[in-house]
Amino acid sequence: MIPARFDYHRPDSVAAAVGLLQQHGDEARVVAGGHSLIPMMKLRMAAPAHLVDLQGIAALRGIEAGERIRIGAMVTQSEMIAHAGLAEAAPILAEAARQIADPQVRNLGTVGGNVANGDPGNDLPALMLCLDATFTLEGPEGVREVAARGFYEAPYVTAREEEEILTAVGFDRPARGFAYEKQKRKIGDYATAAAAVLIGAEGGRVVSASVAMTNVADVPVFSAAAGEALVSTDCAADAVAAAVAAMQGDIDPVEDNRGPVEFKRHVAGVILTRAIARAWSRA
């Protein structure tokens, strides 16, 4: 529970932060809310010699909630939950974020840290897949945009280069029907399984559907096939069953203290069924 020695830096611009990352290479890590990184450091599973704190960079903080939504990387999970514009434009954000840990964690944990971390247990990555978000990355070569759906490669391995900083997430105002459903053992726990669902409907039929899953594979899972199974249906039992079957084909959970694989697959199905029902009822 005692981290190894490190030097602490607090730059006031993205350029300065990138400069520090360039200077110290893989000896350096950025720290945002610290609520994933610092526990790892206390366990000495991470031991960066240089910690680059992003708290001093005002440019990473804003929220825009128009037709296109943009959330700065250093916006905390609590700020995201409390934001009136986001509540109106994309209520799925608050529904999902409220299920992250507890208020203490959410007061410090950031949106950027949650999506950049690359832990399949984090809730916001699957949500970003579901929203078809793009991530803005800034590094020595300049600024680029990466689709969330192409970002997650393996546990803690993402498309972000080591010297890049994730500055914001952006996505279009989502469809009306939404749900983020999560089963966990207790407050402060990562998901046994969680499902993000967005459904757009017209005339009693699904016109668009998007499904993504948390913590049921070594990366967050976007299940295109599950969404397709719902389109043009009225979300009746057979359509939902087809979506669940499609999702089951895309996930690959592993056994841990939350339970064996068979249980997790079963729960993923139940959770998705419930999420679809709730999203459909709001569509």
Partner: protein, 805 residues
């Protein structure tokens, strides 16, 4: 009389027995002003940290500390080789076994202490731990107590090679510790075999841990000038620690001062003597500087006193109409690598023979086999050494299973078999003398409070609705009527390391009528400073607000055996009342002198002695106290002080009726406690608010244990639940609302009739929660499944019963 307040008003002013007095401790705790071990900072203090074994069973081939010693700030690295010349590389346990202080040639559990690094700074110590190179050769691991007893099982305790006689009788296998029996084996078997209905089941109570908010730690400081060793630590039994420290170190006991400052929860986790204490003491003696050692959360969960790991095989017989005929229990007890329980010498399985519970069972037998495995030692926590919790869980499960076999309602089965009020004092088949009880009254009150009949109707309807496919949730009604045995205990058969389990109180009344009392116990959150003052207030007529209670400093407090096993009120509370009575006896003589009457002409009235028949002639305790110090009273020594060492004539037997109503989702295994009703009878109630707090806390522990908390090991002996991510500690969110209630059946042998309540809710709560889970599935054929009932295990139960379609 003129304007004197009447007795009732004066009594209320005392805030004595029965008053829901606010906790005097809370002012400092709620402001962050407590003083815990880790708050102690001494000039020049060094910090210790352990190198711990990553393996559950391995030979330690070599330890190379040179890189660690080369790190600036590192003062020393202790290994078993350094402790050996002092005879401190092993130490005796509180259960007649011995235990390695630092790995001596091999390690026997993951997290075992291998080397102790001492540095000038906590961070440097942690860095140095990483630099100590230990060369291990792994050995075959056994974590299953049944496999441990197979003929070719790995030999764990090589130090015991050839030792066929253990501390508690013959050892029949290299991993066998003891076999302990109680009762009439043949009689029980014959009675059960001849019964119309027999139920047989193995009940497992898994390994768990109390996870106190504050972990274990100490600061040891040797003053080389005056030869005095002071040890501040998280000790539930500071006086015993002093004696053990003296015996181990050879330092005279008067030269050792042990202090327990504020303690952030103990639950038995802080009864034992840990390697960290020994190493800190050695380090301060060697370096001449104070040494602090405080373990972290993972160390606490992995290496300190756990609870349970009991496999209880039961047989119970009954007549067709539900009268129990006999009980038979055989337990396989997994003690881990060393037998480090804290048992009275005569009771290696504690008081497991309370396993006949609240029932009038004519004949019974129990046997316990203690076994070594490659797991952490120290079954002390949560009443584990006393094994009452295990016994209560066992009998309350067996009753439920018997009800299933009989096709009978489990509440009715209990009622039929309860010991009746007129049978007390009651001698159980396994030899206990239950002091008092009125189980039928408590039970009926409980059933009525929850509308038991209505709940059963609702449950039946729910089952029908489930079968029709209208719901996926089942309803469980968990019943428990537990009988506790607390207040260890009579010196004639209860001891810790030979020290009788009495307790003590010393009281000094100051000239102006306030007082200080010191006890041999130590609060870890129980609120002793509040309640013991209330006992004294009622006994001496001094308002509780004018009484300071002090515990935990062996230089000032009288010797006592400490606080665990709900013993403080039954034993130290009794000593407190008795000391108060000695004060009152002397006060009566002083009052008689002052009023110029004979002692016998006085009567006690709340806070004063008044002349019989002339209540306007009186002396208050405050006046008497003053006189005790400023008048020469013929035949009496000046001053007003008393000491009492109380050896309880018997244990006390608190009891309670708990009912849990739980909703269970068969598809996800999620559960929700809809209602929890807890009736406790702890005899005389000293402070109802503190009782309620103790009950809420204990029930929440029970919830955790029953519903998810465990120390789980994989086959390699790795701890799988060593952090709070996986170790279930309920928050306000998981914790249900509790409905508390009470009856009051005083203990006839306790000076104020109090019985103790601290552990009742843990003892009774676990079966109530677990029985609710079982009961939800009773209609579908479930008889027994093991705790903890976390989501996936409940889901598995539903699946195995074919409920997933």
């Amino acid at each position: 009389m003129k304007d004197l307040p009447d007795s009732a008003e004066r009594r209320a002013n005392l805030k004595g027995l029965g008053c829901a007095r606010k906790r005097v401790e809370d002012a400092r705790f709620t402001q962050g002003k407590g003083n815990y071990v880790d708050d102690i900072k001494l000039p020049g203090m060094l910090f210790g940290d352990f190198v711990r074994s990553p393996y559950a069973h391995a030979r330690v081939k070599s330890i190379d500390a040179s890189a660690a010693l080369a790190l600036p700030g590192v003062v020393a690295v202790l290994t078993a080789k350094d402790l050996e010349p002092l005879g401190l590389h092993w130490m005796p346990t509180l259960a007649g076994d011995k235990q390695m202080v630092l790995a001596d040639g091999k390690v026997l559990f993951q997290g075992q202490e291998v080397a102790f690094v001492v540095a000038t700074d906590r961070y440097i110590a942690a860095d140095a731990v990483e630099l100590v190179e230990v060369d291990y050769e792994d050995l075959p691991v056994v974590v299953d107590p049944f496999k441990a007893q197979e003929p070719d099982a790995p030999v764990l305790r090589e130090d015991l090679a050839g030792v066929t006689e253990g501390a508690h009788g013959p050892r029949r296998h290299h991993n066998h510790i003891f076999t302990w029996e109680q009762g009439d084996a043949e009689g029980a078997t014959a009675a059960i075999d001849g019964s119309e209905v027999i139920a047989e089941e193995t009940i497992y109570y898994h390994r768990t841990h109390p996870c106190p908010l504050e972990t274990c730690g100490c600061v040891a400081s040797m003053d080389k000038v005056n030869g005095k060793l002071t040890v501040w630590g998280t000790f539930q039994a500071p006086h015993v620690v002093r004696t053990v420290a003296s015996l181990l170190s050879g330092i005279d006991e008067h030269n050792i001062r042990v202090v327990s400052p504020d303690i952030g929860g103990g639950f038995g986790n802080k009864v034992g003597v840990y390697p960290g204490y020994v190493c800190s003491i050695v380090a301060t003696i060697v370096t001449g500087k104070p040494v602090k050692w405080v373990e972290d959360r993972m160390e606490n969960l992995m290496a300190t006193a756990f609870a349970r790991d009991y496999w209880m095989k039961g047989r119970i017989g009954a007549t067709r109409d539900g009268r129990i005929t006999g009980l038979h229990a055989h337990v396989t007890a997994d003690h881990g690598a060393f037998d480090a329980c804290a048992d009275p010498t005569k009771f290696p399985a504690g008081f497991f023979h309370i396993c006949t519970g609240s029932y009038d069972i004519p004949v019974a037998y129990c046997a316990v086999d203690g076994v070594y495995t490659n797991k952490a030692p120290g079954g002390v926590a949560y009443r584990c050494s006393f094994r009452v919790t295990e016994a209560a869980y066992f009998i309350e499960r067996m009753i439920e299973i018997l009800a299933i076999r009989l096709g009978m309602d489990a509440a009715e089965l209990r009622r039929i078999n309860f010991i009746r009020k007129d049978q007390f004092p009651y001698i159980s088949a396994l030899g206990w003398e239950y002091d008092s009880g009125d189980y039928h009254t408590a039970w009926d009150k409980a059933l009525k409070a929850v509308d038991y009949e209505g709940l059963r109707r609702e449950q039946a309807e729910r089952v029908e609705a489930f079968r029709r496919g209208e719901t996926r949730k089942l309803l469980g009604i968990g019943l428990t009527h537990f009988t506790e045995i607390v207040g260890a205990g009579p010196v004639k058969n209860c001891d810790i390391l030979g020290m009788g389990m009495f307790d003590s109180c010393e009281i000094r009344i100051h000239p102006t009528g306030s007082a200080i009392a010191r006890l041999g116990t130590i609060s870890q959150g129980q609120g002793h400073a509040t309640t013991f003052a209330q006992i004294l207030a009622s006994e001496t007529g001094i308002p509780a607000d004018k009484i300071t209670i002090e515990e935990g400093d062996t230089d000032t407090a009288p010797y006592g055996l400490g606080t665990y096993g709900s013993r403080s009120t039954p034993v130290a509370g009794a000593a407190t009342a008795m000391a108060g009575r000695k004060i009152r006896a002397k006060a009566q003589m002083i009052a008689a002198y002052l009023l110029e009457v004979h002692d016998d002409d006085l009567e006690w009235d709340v806070d004063r002695f008044a002349v019989k028949g002339a209540p306007e002639r009186f002396k208050t305790m405050a006046e008497i106290a003053y006189a005790a110090y400023n008048q020469a009273i013929p035949g009496l020594e000046p001053g007003l002080e008393a000491v009492s060492y109380y050896d309880p004539p018997n244990m006390t037997y608190p009891f309670g009726a708990y009912i849990c109503v739980m909703e269970i989702d068969v598809d996800t295994g999620e559960w929700q406690v809809r209602q929890f009703y807890a009736l406790d009878d702890c005899g005389t109630r000293i402070n109802p608010m503190i009782i309620e707090g103790q009950v809420h806390g204990g029930l929440t522990e029970a919830l955790a244990i029953a519903m998810g908390q465990e120390i789980a090991y994989d086959d390699m002996g790795n701890v799988r639940t060593g952090t709070l991510m996986d170790f279930f500690l309920p928050t306000a969110w998981e914790t249900p609302n509790y409905q508390t209630d009470w009856t009051e059946t005083p203990s006839p042998h306790h000076p104020i009739g109090a019985k103790g309540v601290g552990e009742s809710p843990n003892v009774g709560g676990v079966p109530a929660f677990s029985n609710a889970v079982h009961d939800a599935f009773r209609a579908f054929g479930l008889t027994q499944t093991h705790m903890p009932h976390d989501h996936w295990r409940i889901w598995r139960t539903a699946r195995d019963l074919g409920l997933h379609g």
